[in-house]
């Protein structure tokens, strides 16, 4: 009997890498109707958008791809006048959802991240090690959403196949 887990490679998401002083970023982000998460390594989620606080002065905005054009217009990644830096990186990541009864088991195989509630709350979102490389993990209904650098997407798929089927 294998693991009861559903692993889905996600289609394209709109993703923006945001760096800068917290006050400046908060102001820029308010323009898209979002507010910054209050604790490190958590996400503020609203209407399918997830704004993750992933490092000191560093955030990652994930949004449905349908919003990409609108976000490009509003966030203006090309415009350097805002004293913070927003870089369009939708294509730079491959995303997967891991859901099901054994989602926690899959995550424990992939990552050393301690996902106990007190360490990684319901709005948890963080970069950690994921199958040996850097990967984003955030909680998702019934499991986790994870993102790795796009070039590693095929490798992660092989890993998921291995651990769920026993294939060598």
């Amino acid at each position: 009997m294998g693991y009861q887990a559903t692993i889905k490679k996600q289609a394209m998401w709109a993703i923006f890498d945001i760096k800068g002083d917290v006050r400046v970023v908060a102001k820029r982000i308010a323009d898209v109707g979002l507010s910054l998460p209050l604790s490190p390594n958590t996400a503020h989620s609203k209407k399918g958008q997830h704004l993750c606080w992933i490092g000191k002065n560093h955030w990652l905005l994930l949004a449905p791809v349908e919003m990409e054009d609108q976000l490009l217009k509003r966030l203006q990644p090309q415009n350097l006048a805002f004293d913070c830096r927003i870089v369009h990186v939708s294509d730079a990541y491959t995303l997967f959802t891991v859901t099901g009864d054994h989602a926690d088991d899959i995550l424990a195989i992939a990552s050393p991240l301690n996902t106990r509630q007190k360490n990684f709350p319901n709005d948890g979102a963080t970069f950690t090690e994921f199958f040996g490389i850097r990967g984003l993990v955030l909680r998702w209904p019934g499991g986790y959403l994870t993102a790795v650098e796009r070039s590693y997407g095929d490798m992660i798929t092989v890993y998921f196949d291995k651990i769920t089927t026993g294939m060598r």
Binding site: M1, G2, Y3, M12, D17, K19, G20, L80, C84, R85, V87, H88, V89, S90, D91, A92, Y93, D105, A108, I109, S111, P112, L113, N114, T115, R116, N119, F131, G132, I133, E149, R150, S151, Y152, G153, D154, M155, V158, Y159, K162, I163, T164, T165, G166, M167, R168
Partner: protein, 980 residues
């Protein structure tokens, strides 16, 4: 029908309705479900089942668990694995095993001839005998003769190894009485608990005990505790799982051998807990007398386990030899079972022997010692020495030995805890813990059930309170009292003669004589004795014998054992399959790999793919029908030189750099000036590390004021990122610079060759791409074939090149369009082999070839890249200091080797006159040049630039190849073509 002559009619916890067939050394046997390989062999009367490591003496099973020193097996077929103790192998239908240390069989072992030469194989014989001319000449054949199991070759198609992490509050090692109690208390406190036990069933030594807890047989108590633990979702309970390594910060390495998931062969846990409770119990130790290794000699506790667990008594006439009280419970068991007992030999005086002897109706040889065991391939008799020196010979075929008990301090000691010597136990016990852990029960030296339980309750309660849990009110279950544990140390029996084979380490064939010899030769510390004699090494790590080594050294030096100390306890506690450490990192994922959006297209074209730096899989070359690899490379290179080619340049590192101080930062990184770079233009730069060696090279474009796109070499993108982040976070903290890696946000198809512009025009491009409007080193945003793109005019080939950068979502469509539109122009895809040829023809640098962290820009003839005005760039000072010494440097040159048509291996040294002498340089790259129609090479040569025209000598193993030194550029030295 199962024929098990040594199986009792009733008893044991095996499933007598489930017969299990297995194979051992090619012969078929049967046992029952619940057997170990060892218990099944004993039930079948297979007593001679191993040969010893050095002398190939006949050996049998001595233990019942991880302490087993003798019977090591290699598992074959679906269970493939090496060097398992037969006592730890669960019997499975169709199991195939063979002994590891004999050929062709333990019964007829050709290597047993070594026994005739035992006088020639004393301690340290390797060091003494195989000194001339070189130990390594002898090593392979000695290793083969000593042979442990071969690495398993078979694979199980639909099972794999898995590794995973676990995070919790309390990790209990051992599921005996103390471990179960600890886990129970912890789980009732609300902690997340893991309990790990290396036996298939919980209970530990309770399983062969007649004691009662709360008036019930102890095994019922253990089962009730497990039922409660299993009902708690916060508890993970692992059986047949060994905690074998104790790492920093309470990380335990655990291998689970029988996971519930059928697709998992073994699972390695990396379990980290706030608190570790070591309830690892104690291990019985051997006694030292002549022929104490004969098949038929076993540990008393092992005999008890075989009887209670498996219904096996491996003999018809048993004798017991002990120096302590614990072995008497075996006598009670055997007497109750109505089995023949020849007697108990106890080295203690009659007065010292307590209540343990009450009720026994067998001969008791108090204050006697066993002088020797007798027999050929099996025990036939023992001789007993009375206190007055008289000898009596008694027939027996089973000798149960107990030298007392050692707390299993292995994990405690791996965790750097210190040990203390306990005189009453004549053993080492845990002293000061160095991590957040506690030892309980027998592991803490509490050898009596009631004492162990009380100790566990108080210790665990204290730990939980310290860790901010509220331990529940818990009343200790009542235990039947057992006789107090009492022992009189006996490091070896009296009256030993030189030449007696009395083993202190059964597995490594180390005798008492060897210890004496080592000490006479001056090895008088326990670590030296260990290395000289090999005592305590090997697979069992001396679990039953190390204490006798220490005791005997102490005796010989007239010191206390704690003055001698122990050797270092190392992981793994028991042998571990490498797979359970590597986990899912094997086969396709043994190394990480990265793909571009064009990878699948390349594979579909039949490209030969391999790694080309930083884990990126790239096409090496595209094989052609009717040609070999060189033909394919030549065809690709000629296409680029005379028509057009396209390669996937996506793996090049790319960083978006911006912020108020971005320009200053770029200036700090590169040795050359960037201040005058215009927007929309790029510049080639070199960055150095602090020691003034080249770190990386690449082209950086200025997108806007204080906004740059930096490209790095493929292999060094991560190194450059680390370098930049280090500077920004540690040395330039007040600077405002933001760096975002965008390597995978952009893919690039680089169209290169004289017809590159024609292809781009044909694709449809929204801007003027003429040389005036779009010069060399410029970047333009444009629509190409209907897709937004950034086009860069950079050349790594020496030809006109257009890098078409698009988002990866568009990359494959763009690539297919280029191939389609480019077809009439003769476009071909180009692999990394060809890129290498093209750059060598041009003398362009390659990281890892010419740039090997020993070269600076002057060495490579790039004086122009060292700014005259900017002296603060990273590494500049070091370069200046080094060059001021005026010492000769290795300089980049071209080489034209005079070979018979074959390439010179990269890295081949250049030596004066081709002599076997210190090298004066090396070949960094060698290719067949399609434009020069000859073999060309690049190399680094001492004072090379002054030696152009000279003939130098390259050594390729024993061959010497002459080569003419040239300038390091073989094609279009003025660069007219790439600017065209």
């Amino acid at each position: 029908m199962t024929h098990n002559p040594f199986r009792q009619k009733t008893g044991g916890r095996i499933d007598r309705n489930s017969c299990v067939e297995f194979e051992f050394n090619g012969k078929r046997y049967s046992g029952y479900k619940g057997d170990t390989l060892a218990s099944a062999l004993l039930a079948n009367g297979v007593f001679l089942n191993a040969r010893s490591f050095k002398y190939h003496r006949p050996r049998g099973i001595m233990g019942a668990s991880v302490e087993e020193p003798s019977c090591l097996v290699e598992l074959l077929g679906a269970d493939a694995g090496g060097n398992h103790a037969a006592t730890t192998v669960q019997l499975r239908q169709g199991l195939k095993a063979k002994s590891v240390n004999c050929w062709p069989s333990p019964n007829f072992d050709l290597m047993s001839i070594n026994q005739l030469f035992t006088r020639l194989l004393p301690a340290g014989f390797y060091y003494k005998t195989f000194m001339w001319p070189n130990w390594h000449l002898f090593e392979p054949s000695i290793r083969r003769a000593a042979g442990l199991a071969a690495a398993p070759g078979d694979q199980i198609p639909y099972q794999h190894f898995e590794t995973r992490y676990w995070h919790g509050d309390v990790l209990v090692v051992g599921a005996g009485s103390s471990g179960l109690l600890a886990a129970l208390i912890a789980s009732r406190s609300g902690a997340r608990v893991m309990i790990v036990d290396d036996h298939p069933h919980p209970g530990g030594c309770l399983r062969s005990s007649q004691s009662k807890i709360d008036g019930r047989p102890v095994i019922e108590w253990a089962e009730a505790v497990c039922a409660e633990l299993d009902a708690n979702p916060e508890v993970t309970r692992l059986q047949d799982a060994t905690a074998w390594g104790y790492r920093e910060d309470n990380l335990l390495m655990v291998t689970e051998r029988s996971p519930a998931e059928t697709h998992v062969f073994q699972r390695g846990w990396k379990a980290r807990a706030g608190r570790v409770i070591l309830a690892t119990g104690a291990i019985e130790r051997n006694l030292v007398f002549a022929n104490n290794d004969l098949p038929g000699v076993m540990l008393a506790s092992a005999v008890q386990i075989y009887y209670h667990e498996f219904g096996v008594i491996p003999g018809r006439q048993a004798m017991i030899f002990t120096n302590n009280s614990s072995a008497y419970s075996l006598a009670h068991d055997l007497q109750a079972a109505g089995k023949m007992i020849a007697g108990i030999i106890d080295s203690r005086s009659f007065e010292e022997i307590g209540a343990e002897k009450d009720g026994l109706e067998i001969p008791l040889y108090a204050a006697n010692q066993l002088k020797a065991a007798h027999g050929g391939k099996h025990l036939r008799a023992v001789s007993i020495r009375a206190a007055d020196g008289s000898i009596k010979r008694v027939d027996c075929d089973l000798l149960a030995v107990s030298g007392g008990w050692n707390p299993a301090v292995h994990l405690f000691s791996q965790a750097r805890g210190t040990l203390a010597y306990d005189d009453a136990l004549a053993s080492f016990v845990p002293d000061k813990a160095m991590q957040r852990l506690a030892c309980v029960g027998a592991a803490a030296g509490k050898m009596n059930l009631a004492l162990a339980m009380a100790n566990t309750l108080s210790t665990v309660t204290t730990c939980l309170s310290e860790d901010n849990f509220k331990p529940p009110a818990f009343s200790l279950p009542s235990c039947t009292t057992s006789p107090d544990y009492h022992l009189q140390p006996l490091w070896h029996v009296d009256g030993m003669k030189p030449g007696d084979k009395a083993f202190v380490d059964i597995q490594n064939d180390v005798t008492l004589d060897d210890i004496g010899l080592a000490m006479r030769e001056g090895f008088d510390t326990v670590e030296h004795v260990k290395r000289y004699t090999t005592a305590g090494m090997g697979i069992d790590q001396g679990k039953i014998g190390n204490i006798n080594v220490i005791g005997n050294i102490a005796m010989a030096c007239n010191k206390r054992p704690d003055e001698i100390g122990t050797t270092t306890f190392r992981s793994p506690f028991t042998p571990v399959d490498f797979g359970s450490i590597a986990g899912q990192r094997n086969g396709a994922t043994v190394l990480p790999f990265r793909h571009t959006p064009i990878t699948q297209w390349n594979k579909d074209q039949g490209a030969v793919m391999y790694e080309a730096g930083a884990r990126w899989q790239r096409p090496g070359y595209f094989p052609i029908v009717g040609g070999n690899m060189q033909d394919a490379i030549n065809a690709e290179a000629e296409a680029v030189r005379y028509a057009v080619g396209v390669y996937d340049g996506s793996p090049l590192g790319k960083f978006d750099i911006s912020g108020r101080d971005a320009a200053a930062f770029i200036d700090l990184l590169y040795t050359n000036d960037f201040a005058d770079l215009e927007i929309g233009m790029g510049r080639y730069g070199i960055m150095l590390s602090d020691d003034g060696m080249i770190l990386d090279d690449g082209v950086t474009f200025k997108l806007a004021e204080n906004h740059y796109l930096m490209s790095t070499s493929t292999g060094f993108a991560d190194v450059v990122f680390r370098h930049m982040e280090y500077l920004l976070q540690i040395e330039c903290e007040s600077w405002q610079v933001w760096i975002t890696p965008v390597t995978s946000q952009w893919c690039n198809a680089t169209i290169c060759g004289p017809k590159a512009r024609d292809v781009l025009e044909a694709l449809g491009v929204s801007i003027d791409i003429g040389n005036d409007a779009f010069p060399f080193m410029a970047m333009r945003e444009a629509i190409v074939a209907g897709t937004p793109a950034r086009i860069c005019r950079v050349s790594f080939t020496g030809e006109v090149s257009f890098e078409i950068n698009v988002w990866p979502r568009h990359a494959e469509a763009m690539w297919r369009r280029i191939m389609e539109i480019g077809a009439p122009f003769g476009i071909v895809p180009v692999g990394s082999e060809t890129s290498h040829v093209l750059r060598v023809e041009k003398g362009f640098l390659s990281l890892g070839h010419e740039v090997d962290e020993t070269a600076d820009p002057y060495d490579l003839g790039m004086d122009w890249i060292m700014s005259r005005t900017k002296t603060h760039a990273i590494g500049r000072r070091s370069v200046d200091i080094r060059r001021s010494s005026g010492k000769p440097r290795r300089e980049l040159v071209g080489l034209i080797p005079k070979t018979g048509g074959e390439l010179v291996p990269e890295g081949a040294p250049v030596t004066p006159n081709g002599d076997r002498a210190a090298s004066e340089g090396f070949v960094s790259a060698c290719v067949w040049s399609v434009v020069n129609k000859q073999i060309i090479a690049l190399g680094l040569l001492t004072n090379g630039r002054a030696r152009i025209g000279e003939t130098i000598s390259i050594r390729d193993r024993e061959r010497v190849i002459e080569a003419v030194v040239t300038k390091p550029c073989f094609y279009d030295p003025k660069g007219k073509r790439l600017r065209g």
